[in-house]
């Protein structure tokens, strides 16, 4: 297609320094976000990648049986973790292709809690209380995924035993996961569901991890018709409250806003 030679000159708006400055500011902001996300994801992937390579090389050195007995389960855990990291990033970024697919069915929550707990690398003491027969009407894969993050957070960052209280409220099932620890800043609790929130502090402070766990749990809970929120505990520590449908077609209402509440 050829451009007309004699037509009216294309109109160009005069440059607006205010708009240009705003565009430049937004581009700089986007660039900062891009670097922050890459930094956090890179950090989260680096340790399991190094672990994977190292463990495979140990396997290749024909280790003795006791070493083998430790290395193989660690390899399995590490590869699972890499899979989960990738899925976490996709789901937290609102990519729908990795949302759980299992059809909802009645699932006994206590059984899933114990199964997930047994898969943690370093489980502390677990106390399950309340109604042990509590069921949720959810996809089993999504429930496992949510509980893995909530229990891993409690075991990693909490102090003392982790308590899981099960029950039913307002027609839904409620899972409360509590652990002790220091008094938490309400602002931190409120921002815990922000994607990559930890990234800002992870580079210079004590926080490891990618900062997608709670955003993922929120997205999965909402996908299942439920909700999740955090509450500071009196005397320190935190309780994560996961509300899930108990029967087919139900939702849990407003139970939590995903923030500190």
């Amino acid at each position: 297609m050829q451009a007309p030679e004699d037509g009216p000159a294309p109109s160009h708006a005069a440059p607006d320094p205010v708009i240009d400055a705003e565009v430049a500011r937004q581009l700089a902001e986007l660039d900062a976000i891009r670097r922050r996300v890459l930094n956090v994801v890179g950090h989260a992937l680096r340790t399991p990648m190094a672990t994977l390579r190292g463990l495979v090389e140990v396997l290749g050195s024909e280790p003795d049986q006791p070493t083998l007995d430790q290395v193989v389960p660690a390899l399995v855990r590490t590869t699972r973790r890499l899979e989960r990291l990738l899925d976490d990033v996709l789901v937290a970024s609102e990519v729908t292709t990795r949302l759980p697919t299992a059809a909802p069915s009645p699932v006994r929550v206590a059984d899933v809690v114990r199964k997930v707990w047994s898969e943690l690398a370093e489980p502390a003491e677990l106390v399950v209380e309340g109604d042990a027969a509590t069921q949720a009407f959810v996809g089993a894969d999504g429930l496992r995924w949510m509980l893995w993050h909530l229990l891993d957070n409690a075991a990693t960052y909490g102090q003392g035993p982790v308590t899981v209280a099960l029950g039913a409220e307002e027609g839904g099932s409620v899972v409360r996961i509590s652990s002790g620890g220091p008094e938490l800043d309400p602002d931190d609790l409120a921002r815990a569901f922000e994607l990559f929130y930890r990234g800002e502090v992870a580079v210079i402070s004590s926080a490891s991890g990618m900062g997608v766990g709670l955003p993922v749990v929120r997205r999965l809970a909402e996908h299942a018709g439920g909700s999740v929120c955090l509450r500071a505990r009196d005397g320190g520590g935190v309780t994560a409250i996961l509300r899930l449908p108990r029967v087919a077609g139900a939702t849990t209402g407003s139970g939590g806003n995903g923030g500190a509440g």
């Binding site: 190094a50 672990t51 190292g54 463990l55 290395v71 590490t78 210079i204 490891s208």
Partner: protein, 125 residues
């Protein structure tokens, strides 16, 4: 009594800790005498084991590596310390340099770490 360099390994990742223990124990002249999962535990294990060197992760819950290094330095300046971290931004580089601690980036290959452990001992004595 063995002349091996006695090493304490600190990392909040249990499987990476396992890897380091296995890898470093395979190195002639090194013996891992203790492991810890956070800075608080690290300070306790170091106090108990009195190692020659500590391999310290930096980003950990409860007490981070920077604080743990400071604490160990104050109580026992003769212990060699290597910071071993997944990524190192300017803050980590500046802080470890200011503390006189060599920074090594995590890898599945322990060669760089083993060499840094040897240098940390020389620097601390």
């Amino acid at each position: 009594m063995s002349d091996d360099t006695r090493v304490v390994v600190v990392d909040d990742d249990a499987d990476f800790r396992l890897l380091m223990r296995v890898q470093l124990d395979l190195v002639d002249g090194l013996t891992v005498v203790g492991v810890a999962g956070d800075g608080i535990e690290a300070v306790e294990v170091v106090r108990r084991e009195r190692p020659d060197a500590v391999v310290m992760d930096l980003l950990m819950p409860k007490m981070n590596g920077f604080e743990a290094i400071q604490s160990i330095r104050e109580s026992d300046p003769g212990i060699g310390i290597v910071a071993y971290t997944a990524v190192a931004g300017n803050y980590a580089r500046e802080q470890t340099a200011a503390m006189g601690v060599e920074l090594v980036l995590k890898s599945g290959d322990p060669t760089d770490l083993v060499e840094a452990i040897a240098r940390s001992r020389e620097a601390a004595t």
